[in-house]
């Protein structure tokens, strides 16, 4: 096995996930170079391009010609809408949180006030 740089040692799946998240976040088509810049992990452009091409071939992304290459964006389709409905149905399941660990639980009104204050605090000292 050839010696690889720090980021190359991360599991391939995680890298793909990060690339995909960048595209979902931007909300506009992006080229491999742009994705790379947002990721800021110092990856080779070809690594990102390969991932994007694979996702396009799987039907996860669609691409449009841009400059000399392609820009990619996620596909939102009917199947996805069905998935969204099914997921919302799961929300009413009282035992949901025992099986599916969610990132944040719901808030009380007092919580919102506290959180806004804490968010300001977190941001003021991290920047």
């Amino acid at each position: 096995m050839p010696v690889k740089g720090g980021d190359e040692r991360r599991p391939h799946g995680e890298l793909v996930a990060d690339v995909l998240a960048v595209l979902w976040q931007s909300g506009r088509p992006m080229s491999a170079q742009e994705v790379n810049a947002v990721l800021g992990k110092g990856l080779a452009r070809t690594t990102t391009a390969t991932i994007l091409t694979r996702l396009y071939e799987k039907g996860t992304l669609r691409r449009i010609p841009a400059g000399r290459g392609f820009a990619y964006e996620p596909v939102e389709d009917a199947a996805g809408l069905v998935a969204g409905r099914m997921r919302r149905e799961l929300e009413s399941e009282p035992r949901r949180d025992l099986v599916l660990k969610r990132f944040v639980s719901s808030l009380s009104e007092g919580d919102e006030e506290t959180l806004r204050r804490l968010l300001l605090e977190a941001e003021s000292s991290s920047e």
Binding site: A17, K58, V75, L90, R95, K101, E112, E123
Partner: protein
Amino acid sequence: MLALVALTLVFPWGGAAVARRLAEGLPPRWACRLLTGSAVLLAGGTVSALIGLFHVPFLASLERLSLSRVLEEWPAAVPSAAAAGVVMLGQLVLLVRRWLRHRSLLKRAWLSADEGTGDGDLLVIPGSDVDAFALPGYRGRRGRVVVTSGMVRSLKTGEREVLLAHERAHLAGRHHLLSAAVDLTAAIHPALRSLREALAFHLERWADEEAAAVTGDRRVAAAAIARAALAGSARGRVGGYPLLSATSGPVPRRVEALLLPEPAAPQGGARRAGVAALAGTVVVAAFAALGLTYGLHEYVELAARRLIGADGG
């Protein structure tokens, strides 16, 4: 002897309270192990006491004693055995039902996520509502992190990494198994229900700490959680379970904890001794309960020998 049985059955209320209290002072990872461990031990104690009560008449028959002779010695033997039997049957039904519900929930969650677009361990599903959860592995499929596009859009770049690290920590630590174990023990003894919520909180804290360690910035981790929660609640509370209390819920407590330095194991001889004493209480009590089964067995055997002796003489 009956007093001992009653004590064993009442003990989990005290034990659960001690375990919850002890967990508060520990780093989240240890708190989770402590809560799960004590739930299992306390449930084990309860079951062993019930089995002890239940098998008294069978022990009598093993000793070739007629049941009527046993009843002369201990009139409550049959009613208490019957009661223990009914309780255990109820527990078994509850356990099976809860287990099946967990499995069906997992199955439906996989069905709903199957349609999402993604690769690797991330599934992004379309939808403006803000949600993200760890979907545990099922039937040989590895666990996934499921994120709505609404959630992805409401976080900043560094914060998205926090989200992924948090959910991956849940998957890597198999946190759903700990949750399920404690939920099942709550079917055995009602006192253990209080451990379910405590464990849920400490599991989130565990994943928060892992996420902060992976991304290397506690403040970014705190901001990610606060922003996601606020974005989620701004989109409406349909289908969620808003906490009705005005007191601070779990999310602000998590954010506050991340704004403080990383929790360390208790320092100093006194604190360590206190923790050890409390932990010791939990363990000793559980073993006492287990010992009770053996004690009951011995008791019946003793009574049997005495009765046989009386017959002979």
